[in-house]
């Protein structure tokens, strides 16, 4: 016979458990967090950038650019010191969300900056909106954050995916050809870039003879797609790829002999300074639109670039500039609120912040909570023995329309 000694809950056990519970609750004020820092303490800024995984180099650049500006201002603004707390965004919302929560809930930062991936931005949008925490995004360009998904708590110092592509359309129609083949990866950013370009290109009389959506995030061997492009009757190719995809794509383009035969125009990220070393000579002759170029000729850039180069022993890129401008926006904002980190006060002064940046005239547009800046048509040429971006034309100031009317 089996004797079950499943001990039942005796009164003694229950009282002891209740006592433990009561004791724990009484002790809870000691266990829980200290109150928020006294107003005279430093401003705590959470920096959520990728330090591992695929976007690590971008995160690196952005942080360096930001730190460079802050150090120029002695890490001070509005009469308070600035303290940065960094966390790794990783590459996916799965990795980034806990870190964002840690910054906001455990470190209790006054505001958060960073975010390279649009996917992460999209996933965190509700979090910042509902927790009423300010996010100053220094990269992710998802259009909808300035359009239908806009929230007062998320501002950008970088760009919308629409901006670098739209002004290139009319320029291409006039200077390159009227028939384009478009190749982009099949995800939101890819679609954004394609739509922006086609919208103005077709309005300027151009036509799309082929549209290609390639697998994202990994294109694999680009050869089948290159073959398709080679056999189409186009005047030029317009594409957007970033990171590893850009490298394999451009290499295959060159290997198949298309580089000399079919002009390639792209969104600037494809041949930006961060990825040019990996491209090598395969990038020569690729023209692109972006809100900055290494050899952009204005006083701020002429100071910024060599200083950055000397300080960090690396070539600056557009991401470093975005980081630099983020630092400036934060400092200007805190100066205007005189150190007050109340979120509504900070938001109030953000719109309209304007200054001369290495990228040219920079204004934070109140309507789209995104920069108004110039887009430049660049060309990759050999300068100082290596491929770099020089400016062929200034396409003027470009402001995101705030809706999907222009792609």
């Amino acid at each position: 016979m089996t004797v079950k000694t499943k001990a039942r809950l005796t009164r003694r056990q229950f009282l002891k458990a209740a006592g433990l519970t009561a004791g724990a609750t009484a002790a809870s004020p000691l266990l829980s967090a200290c109150g928020p820092a006294a107003p005279a303490g430093p401003v705590k800024i959470g920096v959520l950038l990728p330090y591992s995984a695929v976007y690590a180099e971008l995160g690196n650049s952005i942080e360096k650019g930001m730190r460079m500006y802050l150090e120029e201002k002695n890490s001070e603004a509005g009469g308070r010191k600035i303290e940065l707390i960094t966390e790794d965004e990783g590459a996916t919302p799965d990795e980034a969300t806990p870190k964002a929560k840690k910054l906001v809930e455990q470190d209790e930062v006054d505001l958060v900056t960073g975010i390279v991936s649009s996917g992460v931005l999209g996933a965190l949008r509700d979090y910042f909106d509902q927790n009423k925490k300010l996010l100053i995004c220094s990269n992710a360009g998802a259009n909808q954050l300035s359009r239908q998904a806009k929230t007062p708590y998320i501002w950008r110092t970088s760009f919308t995916n629409w901006q670098p592509n739209w002004p290139v359309g009319p320029w291409a129609a006039e200077n390159v050809g009227k028939r384009v083949f478009v190749s982009v990866p099949d995800y939101a950013a890819g679609h954004n870039m394609r739509d922006a370009f086609l919208n103005s290109f077709q309005a300027a009389g151009g036509e799309a003879v082929g549209l290609q959506l390639t697998p994202f995030p990994n294109i694999g061997d680009p050869a089948p797609y290159i073959t398709e492009i080679a056999n189409a009757e186009a005047d030029f190719l317009y594409c957007f790829y970033s990171g590893g995809q850009a490298v394999t794509f451009l290499k295959a383009y060159g290997d198949f002999g298309l580089a000399g035969q079919l002009p390639l125009l792209s969104a600037g990220f494809m041949v930006e300074e961060d990825v040019l070393p990996a491209h090598g000579d395969y990038a020569l002759g690729v023209r692109s639109g972006l809100h900055w170029a290494l050899y952009l000729d204005n006083p701020e850039n002429k100071t910024f670039s060599p200083t950055y180069q000397a300080k960090y022993d690396r070539t600056p890129d557009v991401f470093a500039v975005q980081g630099y401008d983020t630092g400036r926006v934060i400092v200007e904002m805190l100066n205007q609120t005189q150190g007050d980190t109340n979120v509504d006060k900070m938001i109030d002064v953000l719109g309209g912040i304007s200054f001369a940046s290495p990228r040219g005239p920079f204004t934070l547009d109140t309507a789209t909570q995104n920069p108004k800046h110039h887009i430049y048509l660049r060309d990759v040429q050999t300068v100082d023995g290596a491929p770099h971006n020089v400016v062929l034309a200034d396409l003027g100031e470009v402001v995101d329309p705030g809706d999907d009317s222009k792609g």
């Binding site: 016979m1 089996t2 004797v3 079950k4 000694t5 499943k6 001990a7 809950l9 056990q13 002891k16 458990a17 209740a18 433990l20 519970t21 724990a24 609750t25 809870s28 266990l31 829980s32 967090a33 330090y51 591992s52 966390e87 790794d88 996916t92 919302p93 799965d94 969300t97 806990p98 929560k101 840690k102 809930e105 455990q106 649009s118 996917g119 999209g122 996933a123 949008r125 509700d126 979090y127 099949d186 995800y187 939101a188 697998p215 994202f216 995030p217």
Partner: protein, 351 residues
């Protein structure tokens, strides 16, 4: 009565009582938890509990029925996507509607996949479950119109519950935590009932020797399918909670590395037990969280720990603890032979 007292006074009864106390205290602590610790730790606890549900569901297959599935993430992700679709496309947040739908949906998916995959065994079963999970992943990545492609489905709101005019939304941190805690406890309790029921014993029989079970007249295929469906449904529940917690359903939830991660939880914690996967989930998620802030090398650490367990501690943390306890008991001064039939809780039952 006298014999009962005599038996109660023998050997490790105090250990059993201790175990009860520890559990009660833990439960009490879990109840007051959100009021006692900082908000960030509440988030951590939610994460651990969700993955504990996920891991327990895999253990039903792996530990109790002997089905080494490398595609369990399929049901986790399916649950997350189903929920995200219901909330973002149809605006339904009422758990009274979403939970049954998701459970039903993932159970049916499990039965469909199981119908095909359970014809194979061993390594082949492992590979075919991997293949099916990858199919689901490629659907999620490519069918952007429905699944949002690589961006997933963001904008998932907090759940609500209600019948008729009565409704409650879990939008405060505390209430959402309690919801997850309740789901976890329910899952634990239900699974415990199942594994200790005749159904559960049939599962164990299949794990031990399927041929003999068939010789005894069991339709093992149906039982395996049942295990697959139940495990899949609970994984779907975990996915539902994950979508609400992260406010997004992403394709990573379906990738084979997620299947690998949950398998690590089960093995490290201890397969064939219910507390094992819970411990494993806590270990992996907390390790991931704290180590990754200190060094980016947490995956190496995770891999090394996993390898050590596979090689030297096959029954996981629970196995190690139970061995230690047995050794402790053996070394105690003999307090009379205790009747072999005193049944301890099923947690101690080893492979």
């Amino acid at each position: 009565m006298a014999t009962l007292k005599a038996r109660l006074s023998t050997a490790p009864v105090w250990l059993i009582r201790h175990q009860r106390w520890a559990l009660i205290a833990a439960l009490a602590f879990a109840c007051i938890y959100p009021y006692v610790v900082r908000l960030y730790f509440v988030t951590l606890a939610e994460d651990v509990l969700i993955f504990a549900i996920f891991a327990m569901s895999l253990d039903l297959l792996l530990g109790y029925t002997g089905l080494t599935s490398f595609g369990h993430a399929a049901f986790f992700g399916a649950g997350a996507y189903l929920l995200a679709y219901l909330t973002t496309r149809f605006g339904v947040t009422n758990l009274v509607i979403t939970v049954p739908l998701v459970l039903l949906g993932t159970a049916m998916l499990a039965m469909l996949i199981g119908f095909f995959t359970l014809r194979t065994r061993g390594i082949y079963f492992l590979m075919v479950t991997l293949a099916f999970a990858q199919m689901l992943f490629s659907i999620a990545i490519n069918w952007s119109a429905v699944t949002g492609g690589s961006d997933g489905l963001p904008g998932v709101p907090r759940p609500s519950i209600g019948i008729g005019p009565l409704s409650f939304t879990f939008d405060s941190r505390e209430s959402f935590y309690y919801l997850i805690l309740v789901c976890f406890l329910l899952t634990y309790w239900l699974l415990r009932r199942i594994v200790n029921s005749p159904l559960g014993w049939a599962f164990r029989g299949i794990r031990e020797n399927e041929a003999r079970m068939r010789a005894l007249g069991y339709n093992t295929f149906r039982f395996k399918l049942a295990s697959f469906a139940i495990g899949g449904a609970f994984a779907g529940l975990a996915g539902l909670l994950q979508a609400h917690s992260a406010r997004i359903a992403s394709p990573e939830n379906l990738y084979w590395t997620m299947s690998g991660q949950v398998m690590i939880m089960v093995i490290v914690g201890g397969a064939s037990t219910l507390s094992g996967p819970v411990l494993g989930a806590a270990t992996v998620r907390l390790l991931r969280n704290f180590i990754s802030s200190a060094t980016p090398r947490w995956e190496t650490l995770m891999g090394a720990i996993f390898i050590l367990f596979v090689l030297f501690a096959r029954r996981g943390i629970v196995g190690v603890l139970s061995d230690a306890r047995k050794r402790f008991e053996a070394e105690r001064p003999a307090t009379a032979a205790r009747p072999a039939e005193i049944s301890e809780s099923p947690q101690a039952e080893a492979e």
